[in-house]
């Protein structure tokens, strides 16, 4: 990084911390601190909803996935718009009119305090760990590619986020989210421009897409029915629907966003904004990854993108083998570059002509040869480092940023990665503090304290969860490639959590015992499916469906045998007294 890049990052951090600290109004009241006095406009809440979901893992990992595997990942979002419609008609007005601070508060009114506490504990455990991973992933990448100390990168993300979330509460989170989304979109736009301008003379963006498309990088939709594949149309539509229903409907980090809107209709509009924008936005991020693939056909990239693993192999007894592979890679890379240029030239004539078809076959073969060398190098890395999960896709986009982005724009891209990490973690910290205070401290420890007392405790809780997340991030940094596994961790809990809310809203006869046992049964079943040798290959997206179905079926059955809900406790919408 050069001086201008450092200046851009410094200006960004100063701006975000300054505006975050000044964002809160009437944050000396509990309602102002946790729900912004229900005063925020729908568009700001909508951007905050998207910013909380868009972490640095999404930004860097998704472009890397598109580089290596194409656009299939976009299918995970196919259920999201339908989920937003369902939530807009069901949970959103219910939560809003109930006047709750947390989603789990409603479960006590409908069922009992043990179901509320269990749901909140599951949220705290799962979201607390996930907040650590959200900070860890970009910290590892930035520390490796920039040579920064890992503790420094974790604190560079964690401390400013803790500071403004502690002081300004949900208002600081929302308004900084808005600014961070603008930084992310602007930075991604500049990256796409640099990628296109970096193509050789005579190769247009269309040619670049044709070349990438010839090796399947633009095959976004796969209609095949295969439970073992993570990304198909069906797993995205059904698994993604349950995942989105659960995440946006029952995860406090999202529920809290739309509880701050100025009305029920504003809350609905804020979610529907994601319904319209999310898939095109993710498709654009993935196309950026596809363009990175085409860019690296004409601009040299290292054989493997993770420099730390490369150094380890070069320091081992098998260094000569690795160097031999590098020489072979250079040769294959040059052959593929010629083949890509030939394909771009042939495409300008008639894409179905024999010459164009031959150029296409030649490029496919050349690309396969490069891929084969990379695979052999990755196997060598796995042998030497004993990291069986090794993959370097998360380093593809940072390598492009640090090698080819011009001065100033490189700093902007680093600011965008920090933005994505900070916007996701600030919303999570705020939600963790809210659940700690409202579901435990106020409910079990101190029921009738002054607002000032709860606010003081909220700030302590934010600080605690922030430091906890930084600690988890430091520990997670040593997990290496295991971090990708941790990212799928949420789907172990989401389905069962959704099941409890389905029981609460869609059935009148379920009682607290049924919901509690159904919740535990859903969690047990999903954990069994995820780790049993016979079933662990089933895509994690289906875990959301399994958890919800088991929880609902068991919950209803147990209620049937335990007297049901004869008084119709808590089934009507309305303020919680």
């Amino acid at each position: 990084m050069r001086w201008l890049d450092w200046a851009v990052v410094a200006v960004y951090l100063t701006w975000i911390i300054w505006s975050g600290l000044r964002a809160g109004k009437r944050t000396n009241e509990l309602d102002g601190y946790f729900r912004a006095n229900r005063s925020l406009p729908w568009w700001a809440v909508g951007l905050s909803v998207m910013a909380t979901q868009l972490s640095a893992i999404t930004l860097v990992g998704t472009t890397g996935k598109a580089y290596a595997d194409g656009m299939r990942f976009v299918q995970i979002y196919l259920g999201l718009p339908i989920a937003m419609i369902i939530l807009s008609r069901t949970l959103v007005p219910f939560f809003y009119k109930s006047g709750v601070f947390t989603a789990y508060e409603y479960l006590e009114r409908r069922f009992d305090v043990k179901t509320r506490s269990l749901a909140s504990i599951v949220f705290l455990a799962q979201r607390g760990l996930s907040c650590g991973v959200v900070i860890a992933a970009p910290s590892i990448i930035l520390s490796i590619v920039l040579g920064w100390n890992i503790i420094f990168t974790i604190l560079a993300i964690g401390l400013p986020t803790i500071a403004y979330t502690m002081v300004g509460g949900v208002q600081a989170v929302t308004w900084t989210d808005v600014k961070q989304m603008v930084v992310i979109v602007f930075a991604m736009g500049s990256a796409v421009t640099v990628l296109i301008m970096g193509l050789p003379h005579g190769v247009s963006a269309g040619d670049a897409l044709h070349i990438a498309g010839s090796v399947g990088r633009l095959q976004a939709i796969d209609f095949k029915w295969d439970l073992h594949q993570d990304y198909t149309f069906w797993s995205g539509l059904f698994g993604g629907l349950f995942l989105s229903l659960s995440y946006f409907g029952t995860d406090q980090s999202q529920v809290q966003r739309y509880l701050t809107a100025s009305s029920v209709n504003s809350s609905r509009h804020s979610l529907l904004m994601s319904a319209f924008v999310k898939i095109p936005l993710q498709a654009m991020i993935l196309i950026t990854g596809v363009l990175t693939f085409s860019f690296f056909l004409f601009n040299k990239n290292p054989m493997l993108f993770n420099p730390v693993h490369e150094k380890e192999v070069l320091a081992s007894t098998r260094a000569a083998e690795y160097q031999g592979l590098e020489k072979e890679y250079d040769l294959r890379f040059a052959e593929r570059q010629v083949a890509a240029q030939a394909l771009a030239d042939a495409g300008k004539l008639d894409s179905s002509s024999p010459a164009a078809l031959a150029a296409r076959d030649a490029f496919k073969k050349a690309n396969g040869d490069v891929g084969a060398v990379r695979t052999r190098a990755a196997t060598l890395v796995k042998d030497v480092t004993h990291d069986s999960l090794y993959k370097d896709v998360n380093y593809v986009f940072p390598t492009f940023i640090l090698t080819y982005m011009p001065m100033g724009l490189m700093g902007l891209m680093i600011a965008a990665i920090l933005s994505a990490a900070m916007s996701a973690s600030s919303g999570e910290l705020n939600a963790l503090a809210t659940a700690t205070v409202m579901d435990f401290y106020r409910r079990h420890v101190n029921k009738d304290a002054e607002d000032a007392k709860y606010l003081w405790f909220s700030k302590v809780a934010t600080l605690f969860w922030g430091l906890f997340a930084c600690g988890v991030a430091y520990y997670a940094a040593n997990l290496g490639s295991l971090i990708d596994v941790v990212n799928q961790f949420g789907s172990l809990f989401y389905g069962s959590m959704l099941g409890v809310f389905i029981l609460a809203l869609a059935t009148k006869s379920t009682n607290g015992t049924g919901a509690f046992i159904g919740f535990l049964a859903g969690l047990t079943t999903v954990f069994t499916f995820a780790f049993h040798p016979e079933t662990k290959s089933i895509s994690y997206l289906w875990h959301n469906v399994i958890g919800a179905v088991v929880c609902v079926v068991v919950g209803m059955t147990v209620s049937l045998f335990t007297g049901g809900n004869p008084t119709r406790k808590g089934v009507e919408a309305g303020p919680i007294s």
Binding site: M71, V74, L78, M84, V264, F276
Partner: protein, 41 residues
């Protein structure tokens, strides 16, 4: 000082047309993604 009129309770907006639009946009987006793969593939 004149007192501001009390705010009327908000009516739930009928968002049926917006929901229909969400579904139409999703179908068109999927179609566009399929075409993207077919055209450039």
């Amino acid at each position: 000082m004149a007192q501001a009129p009390a705010a009327l309770p908000e009516k739930d907006q009928d968002l049926t047309r917006t929901y229909a639009l969400v579904v139409v946009v999703e179908i068109l987006t999927v179609a566009a993604l399929v075409l993207l793969g077919t055209y450039f593939g």
